[in-house]
Symmetry: C2
Subunit: 210 residues, 2 copies
């Protein structure tokens, strides 16, 4: 059974990462986003197991102790984490898996999965980023400035990633992301795993001639 | 100036490599096929500098002595070779360059250009390959058998390549080839080279806040 590839996708808020990943999933089979665990409250419209695995703090902390997380973080009062057994089961079943995590999570995952393919998505300009971060409701300048600082802080780690996609033209950026996955799927080891019988048939000798 | 990527594309006759490469060139800018040098006679309809650089044997041998070729081979009475200075000038100008060469040429190039990205194109089945090799005119069984043996011999080196594309569905195979080029173009070093000013602008601090 061919093993899937693990993708790490990071970006600042406002870079369009979520839309890009959604477009990737709409275009390709055999790839999915890992569902994180969290201790925060479920919001209206969210579905347990789809948006997040919603667990209580005691459960989350037990999972931490067992080493069940590839990466986890505490944001204010809530925990967020990526379950290692869940991801590894998908990979072992030949599924490609995407982790949408920040640079700190990416560092933790990279240490454990050095073959993971990591991608950082950048916005097309400072102005576009500011505009996207401003559009979210009717926030004051201080709030938007804080978001900009957070975004800049996240972006300052772009050079820890193997690939960088500038989300200028959406279709072009989506093609780059899709291309990345297709390129991984055409690697010798993966094709050899998946296409063993074909390759054997192609390479068999011409009968009665040699 | 960002440096281009060198691609090595090999395949047996009948795998559809030429059509795939043509489709790739139709879809992407900034990439071209290297024009080989040859000592064979120009055929009707061929254009010097487009199909091949047609040179005489003395010129070719002088180029060999000067070490001007990435790779060259003698096929029957004719020489064929890939000019190193021509390819390197294109790469230095930021162009991606494709070499359509066989496994022996690929080995020679890989030794000199370890960063070259190599792709082997396989036909979808033994039957399809046989059919494609039979279609070329009205050849006898012995001729077709010889072509099959040559194809099998070439294919036996598929595992020396980083990527393998099975040309089953043409569009899917083309997407894989395009994806490979896009994936290389999204590598950190290339984006950093091309997008230096954007990245600098994105990472500058929020004015008057920090």
């Amino acid at each position: 059974m061919s093993h899937g590839t693990l993708y790490i996708v990071s970006a600042p808020s406002g870079a369009g990462k979520t839309s890009l990943v959604r477009a990737l999933l709409a275009q390709l089979d055999g790839i999915q986003v890992s569902v994180s665990h969290t201790t925060r409250m479920m919001r209206p419209g969210e579905v347990d197991g789809l948006n997040y695995h919603f667990v209580d703090v005691a459960t989350f902390e037990r999972m931490v102790e067992r080493g069940d997380f590839f990466e986890y973080a505490q944001v204010f009062d809530n925990y967020y984490g990526t379950s290692r057994p869940a991801v590894q089961a998908l990979l072992a079943a030949g599924q490609d898996v995407i982790l949408e995590i920040d640079w700190q999570g990416a560092r933790q995952v990279r240490e454990q999965m050095p073959d993971a393919v990591s991608v950082f998505v950048l916005p097309p300009s400072r102005e576009a980023l500011h505009e996207r971060l401003s559009r979210r409701g009717t926030d004051d300048a201080a709030t938007i400035d804080r978001r900009m600082r957070d975004a800049i802080s996240e972006m300052s780690h772009f050079d820890e990633y193997e690939h960088v996609i500038v989300n200028d033209d959406f279709d072009a950026a989506r093609n780059q992301l899709v291309g990345l996955v297709l390129a991984e799927r055409s690697r010798l080891e993966r094709v050899r795993d998946r296409q063993g019988p074909l390759i054997q048939a192609l390479l068999s000798r011409v009968e009665g001639v040699e």
